[in-house]
Subunit: 232 residues, 2 copies
């Protein structure tokens, strides 16, 4: 008998387009790798992004974590077996969310780290929000898999924050972003690039560059589906 | 006190891209019309499309309905308060599904009919699968709202079936489809067009023609969100 397929809970809406991309990845990966089995049930809880951004920009990580925990409780009540957060920045409070959750929370870094090992990347340029960069999230979580995490300089980080919060999070997409990101990458001496914010794959992917690109959202979708089918 | 927001169940995967479009519509409509309230929980159950197509093409509507009822039970168990089917063709067995369901099933035609009234369309060209056309689904469900439902001729219906089942359902999209659909519409004397298959808005919309277009999926997403917020 095949083991029970776990019901996936997605905490999303940070932003909305990347949450839809997560669903697209899940569907595509199911078609490619698990076609003989039913797709798991997927329940989405979409956060109040205004509230999330307010706490985030004010650095109020305690109420931020409390609010996200409340959202996770909604997913627990809908009988989800585990939760994947479809965004990187909330992983700043991952430990605190785990403490309060009754069901497992997949960590977005678990599978990302594995991808660095597979691609043999020694030094990686981090393209992420300044919150993720400042919190040292990648350095801490992938330290066994990559020797050096390179952070963009102040000006480039400002460009990334503006791109993420002023454009992608509100559903704006320009073709020019591809070139701007390519130019930014060209300035740094690195073996690979990590799209360390789940909004970035909306405008940039491996197709746009010859340097290895790690797409955190894609890694997370893959880990989410694998975990759902895993017998325990 | 605001009334309870109902948890939406979506029976989808027929096809996959239109299910993602349904989610996109829900998100957009929430942003435009209900921004001050949280987005409802949304749970997706994705059907085994191979099974669904097999029953459908063999005209085995009893096992088809039985299978869809099983899927709806999974949504009931996840505490959904009601179900929207993100496809038109399954509405052939809508009455039978309602009989077995413990929670309400929104009918995709309820809001579509309303749209015909709003746009004052007398005669409408039906772009749908041959199953929907043969079953007389639109004629039966929107008869109070529109005087005449025009069906495409045999060759045009074959083109639509091929477009839907061989291309859109498997994620293929060509720019040329827009022109082919426009040419098809041009052959008929009608006041409006209904995209009576939820895959069609993936390649054709009001932007592509001057004649009024009713997008069934968009109407259904709007009705779904409204029902979720409605107090009872």
């Amino acid at each position: 008998m095949q083991s029970k397929i776990k019901h996936i809970g997605i905490l999303g809406g940070m932003g909305m387009s990347s949450t839809i991309l997560m669903q697209k990845y899940l569907f595509e990966m199911h078609r490619h790798n698990y076609k003989s089995r039913p797709l798991p049930l997927v329940t989405y809880y979409i956060v109040d992004i205004k509230k999330v951004f307010e706490y985030q920009f004010a650095g109020q990580w305690k109420p931020y974590a409390d609010y996200l925990s409340e959202c996770i409780i909604k997913l627990e009540k809908s009988k989800c077996d585990f939760v994947s957060i479809a965004a990187v920045t909330p992983h700043i409070v991952y430990d605190s969310l785990c403490e309060k959750a009754k069901i497992p929370l997949l960590n977005i870094f678990a599978n990302t780290a594995h991808e660095f090992e597979k691609k043999k990347i020694d030094s990686v340029l981090l393209l992420a929000t300044s919150f993720t960069a400042k919190a040292g999230l990648f350095e801490r979580n992938i330290k066994k898999s990559v020797k050096k995490v390179i952070l963009p300089n102040k000006k480039d980080q400002e460009f990334l924050d503006s791109l993420i919060y002023r454009s992608l999070a509100v559903g704006e997409k320009k073709e020019s972003y591809k070139n701007e990101i390519s130019r930014l990458i060209g300035k740094y001496d690195c073996d690979g690039v990590v799209l360390g914010c789940t909004d970035l794959p909306l405008v940039f992917s491996q197709k746009d560059t010859s340097i290895p690109v790690i797409d955190t959202l894609r890694c997370h979708a893959s880990a989410t589906l694998r975990y759902s089918y895993r017998s325990e």
